[in-house]
Symmetry: D2
Subunit: 342 residues, 4 copies
């Protein structure tokens, strides 16, 4: 492979722990061509010893996945591990003074009871992390050394609702939100489950974890409330459907009083004025308009009744919902252009 | 083709007007193998003169689509025409004493203002039709000569909500329903629109007609209220996605008081006890479980908060949502087994 | 479920061993509504104890899969087992005088060395079976008690070539055949392999077993030659692609002398004149024209050069390529209409 | 949009004529982020006046498609027009001394009779162009000002066969090639044909133009022979299937004598040693391994018989088969790294 397909030849070094999953592969692709950082090691577990080109030939990368043995020699670490496996690794990287971006759910929830309820395990009690969604907390991310990258559904849904919960919002208070969100099947990871085979999922749609999805407390936390004692009714129905990438969320919002559609749209546009990737669009969003990009596309519609809005939000679950947002966060942490390499 | 693939050799004769579209083709398939009626003529418009086998070779049927010139010689007529085209034809068939099942939206709405608002045209003022959803009005259908077959989204959504609006219901009153429903692309008919091409819709999802879909007043009417002056808040977000057949509707329902999940499920089971095709399932419904069948699969879940339920409803849009329900209605009108030929 | 969805109430009884796979489910569907036979037992292995409705709700069937313990009480047995598992069962059913239709590869090859080479195991040496492709050997099937149902690729390819190898053929001798055939992913069975997941196979195509597919000797045997000492060059490239059902085979044939397209087409039409399911079409075959049917659609084209033809052949791999052909064979064995229930 | 998503800020200027089709959109994406050239104008015809962001929001580009009125102000012109429309434009750009890369079929065939037969029209008689496939004629491209970019099928097939026709080849002479190639539906362009709708093409495959595809003479010309008087038998069966991007070609090759698989593979590896994008792989190629890349993946297999090989070749039809190869050609013409921006 020609060297010119790679990116920077100087700058901080990056290693990815959990590089052989779908999010890890997208991180690999983004870091390989990033203008300001250099890819150092790719760590995997069951795939250690295999080459990137055997699993992801499209990356045009000849490196070998290594087994992670606690190394701390790179400047920046991305962790793209299954939930529960980052707990043990992050504290050591923090202790070594490394910059860490964790893509798992291990450090997203501040409330340990909620974490216990939705993720089962107990998170490392001393680890404190910034919940890193650039549109909500760019300044906190800029000052952080260790951040927790948001979940995929959570990203689409929080970005779809945040302007309604902003302190600056002059809109009526939100009373309830009913959310249905369809995810592409890459969201389930590289899977060998029969129910995720092509033969079962082509031409198919299925709901799952209705009312009990682990992104619910994350969404509530980001909007300034909690799943246990919410300031508004929230129902969430996740679906999987016959596509690989993408999340398409519809949010039916009831407000405490009448709402003017034009004002609502202006509030959204103002809120995202400085966000390079979140776009408030007058056209209806489509998954193909954000697939293979770091964009989140939003549309604000009037549902036809007093005090109700319908928000449509769509992202690529592997990019804005995982690897893309992680690189965006790294850029902010490094103090470079937020869009570099994206 | 071997004659034995055809169904009855005696019984009433059936003709289909608008037989060359997707619903018409499903009607053709069902009537060809129906045990109690005989297929007489297939009428089409732009496809008149072509053979069934040139458009739908899977049907194994050598007949030729004829041009419809006002004939009234068959015993039973199905109309599977674009909205607005049944108005002129139905009165003549009624006058000739024929049994008529209309699959268009022309006669679904009793309120002519609502019809005007959502369908644009003005319906034939003297034509009166039974709105024919077997689960809601089997007796009225049994006594009718002319019926209006429900819309596809409307079928999935009404069946998902009807038990909550039944007179016999002991559940709290419904305060709001937020519905998101994904339709397969056969719902748009045999189309030549760029935005419905495979290249645009594979791996894609798109919302449309948010808050203004023409099935909204039909749903409200069937639930005993109206879109103009509704007894509950209703928001409806229709989506199209990358599948050919199927509607998958999620209904987030807020009730006026606390609800017990077990009681709610019992209410649904009781309501559909005698319905041969609508199934209240403990497993999560999937499109592939109803595709190519006349089933509607329902699931009742607790959304996790005081007074809220999530209902999932799925059908095959071309069968239970169109041709299958139409044959079911014909069976009831003829006084034969409701499931004959389905 | 209403009883009327089931078929016959008298006639021979049928049991299916291996009923929980995709072919078994199609057999179940076909036998449930067959006009001349009655479904008795459904046997499964890992799924024994589960209900049909939990695995295949679309069938509308409440039966429970039973564990097979050597019962021989039904009149007719279909075996839809993985290769290698019918060997032990068939001889006992034969000894009990039962009618047996085996869908596996265990008894397809007469040459035990070829069987050894392509299937690894050794077949039951005393079991003799009729290779049951109706278009080739209707009379032998009619007199048989135990038959071996052809493979899916083999069916599409043999039907695409048979007229060229017929004794009655006046066409030049076949010198070489290059075949590429794409199969839908149901052909791999109910699978939990990562490489067959939706996330890996959507928008994907992959060749496999190039030159070594186990249907090669079956095809050669059916055409009157052998894979070890073939009378013509045969190359076979199987592909899997992003569809559930269907095989689409293209056959590039070189003949020993010039060929007239019209004569070639006439030869095909004559050969299949009495075949109710194999159609020689002037239009180009498409998978959707045969999906969910028992048809095989063929098209004969002139490849543009002296002595070459291109044949296109398509079937539904689960029906004409498995369960449908098996029921067709049963009908012939029972002496009833070949198309009954199909 | 943040300016940093764009590429170079100095270097030659590029305009694209026919920028609103699928190949044009890929060209736009590649040029926008190219490190050495600057995008100047995007010309369209029926879409003139619309914004890029209304048709291709994923590009994150706010420019407006302009109507082309004969401007010659840019340094480099890509033409991505329907066949027949480049004839009139190219000579003027040549006369103005511009660098031109034409993606249409208008200038691919040197033999005007063949052009007449397959494309119908008559090409501009004085225009002479280099047929620009980097793997075959890198040096000629480097010295050219105006080049004709290969067709999509032609690229996959020529790259799959070229080593067998190389002067340096020590392999036996090729006697016949039977090719079946499946294309994704983006190959048909932004289409509004019913037969290319999602509802018709999901779960479907269809052959077309069997033996008469216009890429046949292009392939023969590139391999040093002609379609009218070929040095070997060539049959070509193009298929369309349910995917958006990608071509997957299988080539069954008969040689004049015995062939050793290891030698054949070595010949391929040697031939493509210096090609940065064409990879001879020991694993089986898959569409997803080349989709969204400029790679061509090849695999050489032994078909199991004396003197036969099976070659598998796959590309992304919009990249290596169109826009990617066009940028690769521009890079070579500019004397910069062949992989820049790819």
């Amino acid at each position: 492979m020609n060297a010119s397909l790679d990116g920077a030849t100087s700058g901080p070094t990056v290693s990815i722990i959990g590089a052989s999953g779908y999010s890890g592969a997208e991180l690999t692709r983004l870091i390989l061509r990033h203008p300001a950082v250099r890819l150092e090691h790719l760590y995997a577990f069951s795939q250690a010893g295999k080459s990137v080109s055997s699993l992801y030939p499209a990356l045009g990368c000849d490196r070998i996945y290594r087994s992670y043995e606690g190394e701390t020699g790179s400047d920046i670490y991305f962790l793209a591990l299954p939930h529960g496996e980052a707990h043990a690794i992050v504290p050591k990287l923090q202790a070594a003074g490394k910059m860490v971006i964790d893509l798992s759910g291990d450090f997203r929830l501040r409330d340990t009871d909620e974490h216990e309820r939705f993720y089962g395990g107990r998170k490392s009690p001393d680890a404190v992390m910034t919940y890193a969604m650039p549109e909500l907390s760019r300044e906190a991310i800029a000052g952080a050394r260790t951040v927790s990258n948001p979940g995929c559904y959570a990203t689409a849904i929080i970005l779809g609702l945040a302007p309604l919960f902003a302190r600056s919002s002059a809109l009526p208070r939100v009373r309830s939100v009913a959310c249905t969100a369809i995810s592409g099947l890459s969201g389930a990871g590289r899977s060998s489950k029969t129910e995720l085979s092509f033969a079962e999922m082509s031409e198919n749609i299925r709901a799952y974890k209705v009312g009990v999805h682990q992104h619910t407390p994350e969404i509530m936390q980001a909007l300034g409330t909690s799943a246990r004692n919410p300031s508004f009714d929230f129902s969430f129905t996740p679906l999987i459907g016959p596509l690989v990438r993408g999340i398409y969320a519809t949010l039916s919002v009831t407000l405490d009083g009448p709402v003017d559609l034009k004002e609502a749209r202006s509030a959204y546009e103002a809120f995202y004025r400085n966000a390079p990737f979140t776009r408030v669009r007058s056209e209806m969003p489509e998954v193909r308009h954000v697939a293979h990009t770091n964009f989140c596309d939003l549309h604000v519609a009037y549902a036809g009744q007093h005090g109700t809005l319908t928000i449509v939000s769509t992202i690529d679950n592997l990019l804005k919902g995982a690897a893309g947002q992680a690189v965006e966060n790294m850029n902010i942490m490094l103090g470079i252009d937020e869009t570099a390499g994206l």
